[in-house]
């Protein structure tokens, strides 16, 4: 009995010690300096893109630049983000930046932020709220445009190849159903498909943004549809899986292969894949939102108004470019 009690006490002391130790650096008083406090509610660390995004914020909002960043990582759960925002309000932050896990369901907590007078800036994904005044502005890529860019690139590419009038069979590896990127990219690419009567969308199936699932679904596609011309993978990871599946099936892909691979995000690994000649194109989804958000905050600090919707610059990279040179200039 006594032993158990002793253990309990020791653990308790140790536990509080951990928190005390861990908190020392960040426990500087919030009001006694002139740093701008920014709370960033990040989605998680689920992909390369996401880590680059986090890194961009962490390197922009430094004390040297006049900020203190309170970073929270929601492990892909909306309820965790809601908790984080509530906690930011209590910590008296000056600005809240949210990269929402999902678009829906933010009414309550944004109202709380508004009531406390804290401006909310959205990053990456949009929020679907009935009252747009609940957030100040949104910064991110235009997923629909990304999808359309991909479609337009395909039109050009086919034209160059002289296949404009051929029947083109397409399969899509969708992202996690319901994610903004999935919705936007599916819609954007779909818009272009509608204009091209010779394009035939054979199938769409989710690969949940992961390489393993992308590979598994692609295997299944290859068996059901022997004559696929184009694979649209809604992120690079799924494209890698699809490429492996295609190769395993004894087919080839890339600029010199049987199947055209269109991908999104353009992470470093995608450049490698294009350089290796496996992937045709990757539409950039720029994760470097940090500097842009900092700009907005500076404007707001001066009392200026800002545009409600702010797109980051996004490019299309394909194998016709000098990819090694481009890759050298990229930060992620």
């Amino acid at each position: 009995m006594k032993k158990a009690l002793a253990i309990a006490l020791v653990a308790l002391v140790a536990l509080s010690g951990v928190f005390a130790g861990g908190a020392q650096e960040s426990a500087a008083p919030a009001a006694s300096d002139n740093l701008i406090v920014v709370g960033y509610a990040q989605v998680g660390a689920e992909s390369d893109w996401r880590t680059a995004n986090t890194q961009s914020f962490k390197s922009t909002f430094t004390e040297a630049n006049g900020y203190r960043l309170i970073f929270d990582d929601a492990q892909q759960k909306q309820e965790n983000q809601i908790k984080a925002i509530r906690s930011f309000i209590q910590q008296d932050v000056d600005y809240i930046v949210v990269a929402p896990v999902v678009e829906t369901g933010w009414e309550t907590v944004l109202k709380e932020a508004k009531d406390a007078g804290i401006p909310v800036i959205l990053s990456d994904r949009m929020m679907d709220v009935s009252d747009p005044s609940l957030y100040t502005c949104w910064v991110g890529g235009n997923f629909i445009k990304e999808g359309e860019d991909a479609g337009k690139w395909l039109i050009d590419y086919l034209k160059k190849q002289g296949r404009s009038n051929e029947k083109i069979n397409i399969v899509t590896l969708q992202g996690t159903i319901g994610a903004s990127a999935q919705i936007g990219r599916t819609e954007g690419f779909g818009n272009i498909v509608k204009t091209q009567p010779n394009w035939n969308m054979l199938a769409m199936q989710t690969g949940e943004f992961t390489q393993a699932k992308g590979q598994e679904v692609m295997e299944s596609f290859l068996k059901s549809y022997p004559d696929i011309d184009v694979v649209v993978a809604e992120n690079d990871n799924m494209a890698f899986g699809a490429i492996d599946a295609i190769k395993a099936a004894g087919k080839t892909c890339g600029p010199n292969g049987d199947i055209i691979i269109i991908s999104f995000d353009a992470v470093a690994a995608a450049f490698d894949s294009m350089i290796a000649g496996d992937m045709n194109v990757s539409v950039e989804c720029n994760p470097l939102h940090g500097p842009r958000v900092a700009e907005i905050i500076q404007k707001l600090e001066k009392g200026e108004t800002v545009d409600k919707i702010q797109y980051v610059v996004e490019e299309v990279f394909d194998t016709s470019m000098d990819l090694p040179a481009v890759k050298a200039t990229r930060l992620y």
């Binding site: 032993k3 158990a4 253990i7 309990a8 653990a11 308790l12 536990l15 509080s16 928190f19 005390a20 861990g22 650096e25 960040s26 426990a27 500087a28 008083p29 919030a30 009001a31 709370g39 998680g44 660390a45 960043l69 309170i70 929270d72 990582d73 929601a74 492990q75 892909q76 909306q78 309820e79 809601i82 908790k83 984080a84 509530r86 906690s87 930011f88 309000i89 209590q90 910590q91 008296d92 000056d94 999902v102 678009e103 829906t104 369901g105 933010w106 009414e107 309550t108 109202k111 009531d115 406390a116 007078g117 804290i118 679907d128 709220v129 009935s130 996690t176 159903i177 319901g178 919705i183």
Partner: protein, 341 residues
């Protein structure tokens, strides 16, 4: 008489005491460490309840099932299904808020009944039944709709955003805005549900039978208790509480989508275990589970306040805490065995 009662050491109360002490110790430690960041504010404490209202109710349901010696791992999926049903009914099918809520409650009862029937009458292991339930509910969510649906039903939103202000503990923040502590109706519903379940377990025949069948099923049967029906009702109650939890969850998030509430079942189980409920059955208390959930919430709050830790630390800390409690329970149990020898 009094003296003897003292002598008969009750490990259940002891575990509960530790849980509660730990919670307060952690909380006070937090207030000291983060005293400049506003941790000591009343609202931070209230946020624990606001953010975990649904989990409190679901953990109570889990506790009931665990006392019977069972488990329900379908709760997370069921919450997702409830949210999707609410969102779909209100936004796509034109049902009113009240109707939608009632339908979800009914679904909870039916879901609990089916699971309970399979467990109690067909004697299939609870883990397997609720595993199937988990798959089923998650898949049904996707079948109802694969979209993300925002709830914009005015009545539902008015419930969700209706703040109940407390008359004390207000402060002015850096923006010069007076922030008055508040809670949402969800908190009140959760606490009422908790008290009702507590009373049900303590003061009704049904409640005592749940403990009896968890303590020893054969004995309960031979003592003339209807084991099957009791177990069935326990699962129905659990289903009903999950439906309430689902509605509370939806009031917090106001949306429905497939991926919602993933892993909630493990949080509920962790809450119950930290709160002193034994998976072997027969021992448990819904208030213990409440504190289990609050401890989990406090850790999460710590990590947000700390502001630089990555997400995996939440998982690792909760796991460490879980390990601590589990090992403590086991040490207690073995010391008790030794004493009896």
């Amino acid at each position: 008489m009094k003296l003897r009662r003292k002598k008969a050491f009750n490990e259940t109360t002891f575990l509960l005491t530790i849980t509660i002490t730990l919670f307060f110790a952690m909380y006070i430690a937090g207030m000291i460490v983060f005293k400049n960041n506003g941790f000591a504010r009343l609202q931070v404490f209230l946020n624990l309840f606001i953010s975990n209202a649904s989990l409190i109710v679901i953990a109570a349901g889990m506790t009931v099932v665990m006392i019977t010696g069972g488990i329900d791992i379908s709760v997370g999926s069921f919450v997702a299904m409830s949210c999707m049903m609410l969102a779909h009914m209100m936004e796509r099918s034109g049902y009113g808020a009240i109707h939608s809520v009632l339908i979800v409650l009914l679904t909870g009862i039916v879901f609990g009944f089916v699971q309970g029937y399979l467990v109690s009458y067909l004697k299939i292991q609870p883990f397997i039944v609720t595993l199937a339930g988990m798959f089923f509910a998650r898949g049904m969510t996707a079948i109802i709709s694969q979209d993300m649906i925002s709830i914009k039903n005015p009545m539902f939103l008015s419930w969700a955003t209706h703040k109940i202000y407390l008359p004390f503990g207000g402060y002015t923040n850096r923006k010069g805005v007076l922030v008055i502590p508040y809670i949402y109706p969800t908190v009140i519903i959760a606490l009422i549900a908790l008290v009702v379940i507590w009373a049900l377990l303590r003061y009704t025949k049904f409640g005592r039978r749940i403990y009896a069948i968890g303590g020893s099923e054969t004995s309960a049967l031979l003592m003339g208790l209807n084991v099957r029906r009791t177990r069935l009702f326990a699962y129905i109650l659990d289903g009903f509480l999950c439906a309430i939890g689902g509605i509370l969850f939806c009031l917090n998030t106001c949306s429905g989508f497939v991926e919602q509430a993933k892993g909630l079942e493990m949080e509920a189980i962790a809450g119950a275990v930290i709160g002193g409920t034994l998976l072997t059955g027969g021992v448990g208390n819904v208030f213990g589970s409440l504190f289990g959930v609050l401890i989990k919430g406090t850790i999460e709050t710590f990590i947000t306040f700390q502001g630089t830790l990555s997400s995996w630390w939440t998982r690792i800390t909760i796991a460490a805490l879980l390990a601590f409690f589990i090992i403590l329970q086991s040490l207690l149990a073995s010391s008790k065995l030794k004493k009896r020898r």
